[in-house]
Amino acid sequence: MIDKNKLLAAIEAAGTLKDLEAARVAALGKSSELAAALKTLGAMPEVERKARGAELNVIREAVEAAIEARKSSLESVEINAKLAANPADVSLSYEGARRGKIHPLSQVQDELVQIFGRMGFKMAEGPDIEDDWHNFGALNFTPEHPARDSQATFFIDADHLLRTQTSDVQIRAMEENGAPIKIITMGRVYRCDWDATHCPMFHQIEGLYIGEKVSMANLKGCLEDFLKAFFETDDVPMKLRPHYFPFTEPSVEVDIRCTIENGELKIGPNGKRWLEILGAGMVHPQVLRNVGVDPEKYQGFAFGTGIERLAMLKYGIPDMRKMFEGDARWLSYYGFDAGDVPTLAAGLSRR
């Protein structure tokens, strides 16, 4: 008679996979009692064979199951021993991941595209080296116009200069597409000035909207919505002051009510001062005539401001000059992650 319990006890006693294999061979191998017993089955009469066969199978299945269970248990011990011998130091972190950054000027430009895109503006661009006509003449700066003095200009030759404003793109876009037109433009502009608050190169955004019924009320609405969206606040007290630009009439400068405390801009009716933020106006009929648009049929507005200034106000950046120094410490601190793509749907910037 095969002692099932003895076999199972031997399996349970196996301390290693090797011992277990020996126990398996002893229990189920060619020279095992079970194998010998199975061999005797053939000579038995059928009834007896069936009964004896079933009996032996029960033993075999029990042994096999015990071996599997023991094997799994031994393996887990062995693996755990290996794991214990090779611990990972979870306290240690990667040190060297290079984090690329998006410059705040690019980030703000992406934000502006979102905002003005929602109002239906399309982006237009133009060259940085301009001719006198596109930068001045077509914009109603006649030769020797005193307003030219307010735009300290870099000159290339008698007819070429570095654009002092992105308004040249308004001219190029209207020369090409006429009216109606609804564009924004962003790009580098240049003024011959370099001190704590001026750089010889900076960026502007301008908007131009010409249609049959576009009024100064639309200008005000457009600017209000822009400031609300950009600064992410519902209440932007705004003051339009009369000003003068040769290419708009009426011309205004736009102030917002705010307080700047420790670099943080707080906009609202309780602000301590009015801060100039934009220039704007109704496009001068002569400018429309200059690009072949009929001012009796079409009218509209234009506005513009500095992108550096917007970025500095919004993100509390103190020194404009640092924008152009390529200082990795500055860029890493004020820059934005590649994945931080501004969208109106997800909230422009308060992440």
Binding site: A97, H103, A147, N218, G221, E325
Partner: protein, 783 residues
């Protein structure tokens, strides 16, 4: 433009405060940058009376005073001022008072004697530089009362004048606009009656009447120009202008007060007649500012027999300047062509109050009245008698009318207003307004030459009613088309791709230093901001190297920087390109434990370039490299041009060590520079992708290793195997590169079945054959 409240009030009857008037002007279009009210800082200083004076026991020049200042009993004060005397009433600051310069007074001991406060000088109160003695007030001053009202302090306004409003360059014009805005009543200007006593012998010969359109002189004989006139001195002090002599002070007063620039010649220094003519190039002129100018052809000069006495409208001459001994004077009042004045002054680099006004256009109708007023002032303050006006030309002002449809205003501004309201407002601006057929027929006043068309009328009405009355209407979109064109969007995407690869974005100048420029000759600036930024850049790499250098000095030991921006090969729009450029230096990860300690490789730059190109939908599999005619600023053994067919898209590799040295950089720097303008962005026509077919059968991997004599060809080996287009080779990967040998791993599989060994081996053999053709020798084969 600076002006005082007292000057303003000579023209304007008003009850508004200085601050209110300043705010009103800002909203009318004259931006007031500062309202300086010295009285506002004197709140705590009171009238004090010296009720006792004794000698200081330990000083010869100091006195010990008792000062009474109201209800409290008199206090002891030590004072060194020479004008101390019993009964003097002055400005007393008691301990605890903060003076305008921020000093807070305390009780102190002066050479052992206690002093409780200070009797102040004008300088100590910040109202002038006077510091010879303490302030002496009128006897009637009330002891203990705030001192400010007894000091006759004026308020100074500092405003920014826009180029279209020369009328704002005189106090008179500012007052007129405040009155139009409803901030008071304009008092007008009282015109004097001038009685000429003689006819001058001097004649005007005007050979430059194209510029000097209206030119007048008046001779005044027997003047006394010594000393000074208190009223003019106070006026000029009030705006911080220099006091010179009564005659010159008068011209400066006329300029600031009435926007009527004038010039006073010493008549005794004028020889013969006055000739106005265009200068010849190179003529020299000694001006009042002590500078000798070399004139340009065409500049208009005012001459006598002795030479040039004045540069018309810009600056007077040294030769005929008035001084204390001047007995006879010649007063000039004129109107010059504005553009000419600006050009002359701009070319010579001169800025004067006179030029600033003439170039903007002064009131053409005020040439003669201005001369009359100036003459009467001279007769008043310097005495003498005047001659008849000598005149060339006449006023250039010709009245003109503008037809204005009230509906135009409503449409442009969005505010309802009827014709009668408009008429009232315009008349307040001294426009003549008559009713025409459905329009208002408007004649602007002579001093508003900026009002020429209906848009100008619109602006006048809008600013007088105030922009705060404007309604607000939102701007709505009309379609769902993208805001950005394809290249614009790609540019923005490329930035984020590079940032995701560890590159930090920079914005550097569009200028560079011609001495360290890498590529060709940049467009030169006529007036660079500094010598080191004298040309427009032709590559972004030099500017990025400048940034590398700055970071290295700040101990940033490893860095990748990029910039996407313009470069310039000419002044035409198509010669201005957009480049994407990047540089890297240092050890990857800057020695972090988890990263193998290896320095930057050209492949780092290549990977970034390829990522940008893929963003632009360029099929990078078809790009070709070339090492033909590499520029001398790159390491020719570690750089290559990138071509898409015949179009050169850029360059990558290592900056030549000799080139980085120019920027004081010793590190190895790898770079890429792509011409984004050269890429034609092909946008997918359809958003749907072709259906993906993937094999259901397992694939096999086979590795083999080859040696090459010329290690530069390894990238081509892979390309050659790919180019076989063997349907069973589904992937090729270089898994090892060491000196001249490379390990290649093939992935072999089929869409239709599990491959047999023979089929696999034949695919491997084909790949090896391709590699051998490129000079490879088999080292080993593994599986």
């Amino acid at each position: 433009m600076k002006f005082t409240l007292s000057a303003l009030k000579r023209y304007l009857k008003t009850t508004y405060s200085a601050q209110e008037l300043g705010d009103a002007l800002t909203m009318l279009g004259l931006e007031i940058e500062d309202v300086i009210d010295p009285a506002a800082k004197l709140g705590e200083v009171v009238v004090g009376e010296i009720v006792a004076v004794e000698k200081h026991p330990d000083s010869d020049h100091m006195k010990v005073l008792k000062v009474a200042f109201g209800d409290a009993s008199p206090v002891q004060v030590v004072c060194a001022a020479p004008n101390v005397k019993l009964g003097l009433k002055g400005a007393f600051a008691k301990p605890g008072t903060t003076l305008p310069d921020g000093t807070k007074l305390k009780t102190v001991k002066v050479r052992g004697v206690e002093s409780n406060g200070m009797m102040c000088s004008e300088r100590e109160l910040g109202i002038s530089d006077e510091h010879k003695g303490i302030i002496e007030l009128d006897k009637s001053a009330k002891v203990g009362a705030p001192v400010a009202p007894y000091l006759n302090l004026d308020v100074l306004f500092v405003g920014e004048i826009t180029a279209n409003r020369p009328d704002y360059l005189g106090v008179q014009g500012i007052a007129r606009d405040l009155a139009a805005g409803g901030y008071g009543e304009f008092k007008g200007v009282k015109m004097p009656t001038i009685k000429a006593k003689f006819k001058s012998t001097i004649k005007i010969i005007n050979e430059a009447s194209d510029v000097a359109r209206h030119f007048t002189l008046r001779e005044i004989r027997g003047v006394n120009n010594s000393g000074s006139n208190a009223e003019l001195v106070a006026y000029l002090n009030g705006i911080g202008a220099k006091v010179i002599s009564p005659l010159v002070d008068m011209t400066n007063f006329m300029c600031n007060d009435m926007c009527r620039p004038m010039h006073a010649f010493d008549a005794d220094k004028i020889k013969g007649d006055i000739v106005l003519r265009h200068a010849k190039a190179g003529e020299k002129f000694a001006a009042l500012d002590g500078v000798e100018y070399v004139l340009n052809a065409g500049d208009v000069v005012i001459c006598d027999d002795a030479g040039i006495q004045s540069l018309a409208g810009v600056i007077g001459g040294a030769l005929s300047a008035c001084d204390a001994n001047t007995k006879n004077v010649l007063l000039e009042s004129a109107w010059f062509e504005p553009a000419h004045i600006r050009k002359t002054a701009r070319m010579l680099g001169i800025n004067t109050d006179s030029k600033f006004r003439f170039e903007r256009g002064v009131d053409a109708e005020f040439v003669v009245p201005g001369s009359d007023i100036a003459t009467s002032i001279v007769l008043d303050i310097c005495g003498g008698e005047c001659g008849e006006l000598i005149e060339s030309g006449k006023s250039v002002y010709k009245p003109y009318t503008i037809d204005f449809d009230p509906a135009y205003f409503v449409s442009r501004i969005g505010v309802e207003m009827n014709a009668n309201e408009m008429k009232t407002l315009l008349e307040r601006l001294y426009c003549k307004v008559e009713a025409g057929k459905g329009v208002l027929v408007i004649t602007p006043p002579s001093w508003r030459a900026d009002i020429v068309a209906k848009e100008d009328i619109t602006e006048e009405l809008a600013r007088i009613i105030g922009y705060d009355k404007l309604p607000s209407e939102p701007v709505m979109p009309t379609d769902f088309k993208p805001v950005l064109t394809a290249p614009q969007r790609k540019k923005s995407d490329a930035r984020r791709v590079l940032a995701s690869m560890g590159y930090i974005e920079c914005y550097t100048w569009s200028f560079e230093n011609s001495k360290t420029a890498f590529v060709g000759k940049g467009v030169k600036l006529l007036n660079p901001i500094i010598e080191e930024l004298d040309v427009m850049r032709t590559s972004i790499i030099p500017n990025l190297l400048v940034a590398c250098r700055a970071n290295i000095t700040k101990s940033v030991r490893a860095l990748s920087l990029f910039e996407i921006g313009p470069v310039f090969f000419g002044v035409k729009p198509e010669e201005q390109k957009v480049y994407a450029s990047g540089v890297s230096y240092g050890v990857a990860g800057d020695g972090a434990w988890e990263i193998p300690n290896i320095g930057v490789k050209v492949q780092d730059a290549k990977a970034a370039a390829w990522a940008v190109l893929e963003t632009y939908n360029v099929n990078v599999g078809n790009l070709k490299l070339s090492v033909e005619k590499l520029p001398d600023w790159v390491n020719p053994y570690a750089s290559a041009w990138i071509y898409q067919g015949p179009v050169r898209l850029g360059l990558f590799g290592e900056v030549h060590p000799m080139s980085v040295k120019k920027f004081d950089v010793k590190e190895k720097v790898v770079f890429f520079e792509l011409d984004l303008s050269a890429i034609v962005v092909k946008e997918a026509k359809s958003t749907a992708k072709k259906a993906l077919v993937i094999s259901e059968y397992p694939s096999s991997e086979r590795d083999f290793s080859m040696e090459f004599a010329d290690s530069a060809k390894m990238g081509e080996v892979k390309a050659a195997i790919v180019a076989l287009k063997n349907p069973l080779i589904t992937n090729v990967k270089i898994f090892d590169v060491y000196k001249g040998s490379m390990g290649i791993r093939l992935e072999i599989g089929s869409m239709d079945k599990t491959l047999t060994d023979d089929e696999i081996n034949s695919a491997v053999a084909a790949a090896m054959e391709a590699a051998k053709k490129l000079g490879g020798k088999l080292r080993s084969e593994f599986s």
